[in-house]
């Protein structure tokens, strides 16, 4: 005689408890507030294609043309925003972007077909927030190429800056890394003189002792 023979209802009771736990688990299964709309592979193809950069000229055209609905968001913090920003920009810092009110606002913008352009100090600052917004389904979000810094530089009347291409190799790396051997000779000559100078400086102090 075993316990379950004495009271065979026990298996049924245990089983029912087990089922109740599972049902409780299903009921408490909360959906996260924000869900990823893109899986990692889709995100990768998004960043590889990378056609969500709006150049400052395009931005100016869009702002003045008013054929397209656009909203410009400055994702830097309030202090930096107060010091200077692109006219017409709204200031919502990156962390605030995901607050309930702002998510609702962004959803409305998406529904209206408004293009949202976000910018930070440079290209890099807007990159992460742009990726997050895209990944949670705001496919109307674009970034301002080069960020605020490039916007200022390109509108600089005195010395406008040349084109900015993100991820462009500024050097032929293999070449630079090799050539240095030869250039080094010139450099080291130059450097030697400097070092002599510095040594003198050192000696002068030591001599003063």
């Amino acid at each position: 005689m075993h316990v379950h023979e004495l009271n065979p209802k026990r298996s049924v009771i245990t089983m029912i408890i087990f089922v109740i736990i599972i049902i409780a688990g299903l009921l408490t299964l909360t959906n996260p507030r924000l869900k990823y709309a893109l899986d990692p592979d889709q995100t990768i193809s998004l960043v590889i294609n990378d056609n969500d950069n709006i150049s400052p000229e395009q931005l100016d055209n869009m702002m003045t043309g008013s054929t397209e609905n656009i909203t410009l968001i400055d994702i830097r913090n309030h202090y930096v925003f107060a010091r200077g920003h692109i006219p017409g920009a709204t200031n919502v810092s990156a962390v605030e972007l995901l607050e309930n009110d702002n998510i609702r606002w962004l959803k409305n913008l998406k529904k209206n077909g408004t293009v949202v352009i976000i910018y930070g100090e440079d290209q890099l600052e807007a990159n992460g927030p742009w990726m997050v917004l895209q990944q949670i389904g705001f496919n109307n979000v674009k970034t301002l190429l080069g960020g605020y810094r490039y916007y200022l530089a390109i509108n600089d009347k005195v010395s406008p800056v040349k084109e900015y291409i993100p991820e462009k190799a500024a050097y032929d790396y293999a070449e630079v890394a090799k050539v240095v051997d030869i250039e080094e000779d010139n450099n080291s000559n130059k450097k030697k003189t400097t070092i002599v100078r510095r040594k003198k400086k050192g000696k002068a102090v030591a001599g003063g002792c």
Partner: protein, 201 residues
């Protein structure tokens, strides 16, 4: 959330406390299922009592389905759960030896301790035997080492091996278990002519 220790929710210092609690519960259930009686255990071999098969199959399918549900709810991360590496040769031979010992001795290592706990002398003799066996194996380990480590498949699961999802494996096992319960019930009925069905009150 889980598993608790690999994720650092419970520190490793609680290992022994948790082992003690789980061990007590395990021993209680073994004894309550009638596993301290060697008649029940070897009954599988002689075909008159399949309680061992039923208990372990039930434990297995409940744990399987439960873990998969828990993993679905995010309560446990199955990737962090330790999976014993599979050494094909050693496990085949070990299983053979264990089965042999099961029928000859009337206990498996775990159940022999529950038998000791309720004061069975055959259980005590059996545990002494296991200790002698462990000692011989440990001392002679260098001789078997190559055999022991041969054909290592690593911590592989059935699902990974046949590239099906764990849910499918669990479903198949539940069906297998229930078919096994029914078949063993038929066999028991045939073998035990005087068997009376369990009566629920």
């Amino acid at each position: 959330m889980g598993p608790l220790i690999p994720q650092g929710i419970i520190t490793g210092q609680w290992d022994f406390v948790i082992a003690l609690l789980i061990g007590a519960a395990f021993g209680f259930i073994l004894e309550a299922s009638g596993f301290s009686s060697s008649r029940n255990i070897v009954g599988v071999f002689y075909g008159y009592n399949f309680v061992v098969l039923r208990v372990f199959f039930t434990a297995m399918i409940v744990a399987m389905v439960g873990l998969l549900f828990f993993s679905y709810f995010g309560w446990i991360d199955l990737n962090l759960v330790f999976v014993l590496p599979t050494y094909v040769n050693a496990m085949l031979l070990g299983g053979f030896i264990m089965g042999l010992g099961f029928v000859i001795g009337g206990f498996c290592p775990g159940t022999s301790y529950t038998a000791v706990a309720i004061g069975k002398i055959d259980g005590m003799v059996f545990t002494v035997g296991t200790f002698i066996g462990v000692l011989i194996f440990s001392e002679a380990f260098p001789l078997f080492e190559n055999f022991y480590t041969a054909n290592n498949l690593g911590g592989i699961t059935i699902g990974e091996m046949f590239s099906v999802t764990n849910e499918v494996v669990a479903f198949i096992f539940v069906l297998m278990a229930i078919v096994a319960f029914y078949v063993t019930w038929l066999i028991e009925k045939k073998v035990r002519k005087n068997m009376t069905e369990y009566k629920f009150e």
